[in-house]
């Protein structure tokens, strides 16, 4: 009797080199299109102009009232505030809805009413309630992140192998023991999926909320760029939104892998 070993697969060379070629071509083409005037610079800024503004914005608060990293920091705070609140509420709620009939019966109808309303549609109401400061945006972001958390946790529990549940019953396990020791571990891959999906939802809604109601943040920076007719600031804002989002995504991915590794192997 021997135990199986796992096999390591290497990435092909083409998949290592071609991405670099593709990204370089994209930026060079973009630069040329703007420099040669094919696209007028009132409609789009060249990458070099955006880079200049990027360095400028680290030291110069004008014309939008804050430094670049201050905008980013405001956005990150809002995003994580809403995100962690969404996890804290959504995951336990979804898990409970997946296993306990009382939780599903009570919470599911309300959830199904709220679910199809895009969080952005709540912005006018939240401006009535909270103004344009931090709490209102956290509320919008929370709503955005809540939906995938609940759905993934719920589906994850529902996907628990029914024969495993029966098996646990023949061992005398109670409902609560089955929920804790079987349903939650079974749902974990879906829950980890929710960490990523919810973050993406939070980030999207954050930008939407900041475009409409804010006095700082990356979305606000984009709006200011439009108002001031500065396409380079719009592009820089977009770029920073993408970069920060991707950066947070990588961190969550790392955390997820670390946690899964601890559970699986």
């Amino acid at each position: 009797m021997t135990a199986y070993r796992e096999v390591v697969v290497r990435t092909p060379l083409a998949l290592k080199i071609l991405p670099i070629v593709s990204v370089a071509t994209f930026f060079i083409a973009w630069e040329i299109v703007v420099r040669t005037g094919v696209v007028p610079d009132t409609m789009l800024a060249a990458p070099t102009t955006v880079t200049q503004l990027l360095f400028d914005k680290f030291t110069n608060v004008d014309p939008d009232g804050a430094l670049l990293h201050q905008h980013a920091w405001v956005s990150i705070q809002e995003a994580f505030g809403g995100y962690f609140l969404a996890l804290a509420v959504g995951l336990p709620l979804g898990l409970a809805m997946g296993w306990f009939n009382v939780a599903e019966g009570l919470a599911r109808p309300i959830f199904e009413i709220i679910r199809p309303i895009p969080p952005v549609a709540w912005i006018p109401l939240t401006i009535f309630w909270f103004g344009i400061g931090l709490p209102g945006k956290i509320f919008i972001i929370w709503l955005g992140g809540l939906v995938p958390c609940v759905i993934n946790a719920y589906v994850g529990v529902k996907m628990t192998n029914p024969t495993l549940i029966q098996m646990a019953r023949t061992y005398g396990a109670s409902d609560w023991q089955i929920f804790r020791q079987l349903c939650i571990p079974s749902a974990l891959p879906m829950v980890f999926g929710a960490l990523q999906i919810a973050l993406a939802c939070c980030w999207t809604n954050l930008v939407a909320a900041e475009l409409l109601a804010a006095d700082a943040g990356l979305g606000f920076m984009i709006t200011m760029g439009r108002r001031l007719a500065m396409p380079e600031m719009v592009v820089l804002g977009m770029f920073m939104v993408g970069l920060t989002g991707a950066f947070i995504g990588v961190i969550i991915d790392r955390v997820e892998k670390r946690l899964l590794a601890g559970i699986r192997r």
């Binding site: 135990a3 023949t170 396990a173 559970i263």
Partner: protein, 249 residues
Amino acid sequence: MIECRNVSKTFIQKGSQEVPVLEDVSIDVQANEFVVILGPGQSGKSTLLRIIAGLETPTTGTVILDGEPVTGPGADRGLVFQGYMLFPWKTVLGNVEMGPKLCGLPRDEARDIAMHYIDLVGLNGFEKHYPHQLSGGMKQRVGIARAYANKPRVMLLDEPFGQLDAQTRIFMEQETERIWQTDKRTVLFVTNNTDEALFLADRIVTIEGKLPGRVQRTYTVDLPRPRDLTGKHFLEMRREIIDASVLTL
């Protein structure tokens, strides 16, 4: 020990179509007896085992375990599944000690019991392995150790070796006999394999091959153990059982 009294089961399919699966099945199993329920696929024999396990309720009739009617699943009956049904995120040890832990035994005691049965099924050295690292035969050893570790009065095995290759299967049958001889339990073993039944059983109950399943005959196998798969008496009984079952197909 176990009495199935006139057990019938009818499933209601979608569109309220009734599918009778078992009809008037009565079986008595004595303490520490090894009874094999032998029947072809789709004969309701797994359903009978699930009724005894308490996972299904009979439409009519009762199952009585030590004088008490069965009303639901419980730790006094250990079920071994065809598909192994191990927790993929738990080690061999974690899977085997699950039952004792669920019963509220302290950690050390649960571990000692688990280690004892891991040893009994011949998996010592593999306690820290995860199910995905094990072969089919080894997985089912874990399944058997896990059922044993709960110290059930009755072991219920539902085609436990159905997914194994022929050689591993014969080996596991020998192991099953050895484990049973070492730590005797009342065993109800469901299979569609005549050799497996004859090799293991004190008594074989054959189930007819068409739904609803009915008890066809009972054979007492009083050959000395361990049995020779090509011995004269073994082959005579094999012919007798196969002849009788072929006629009903």
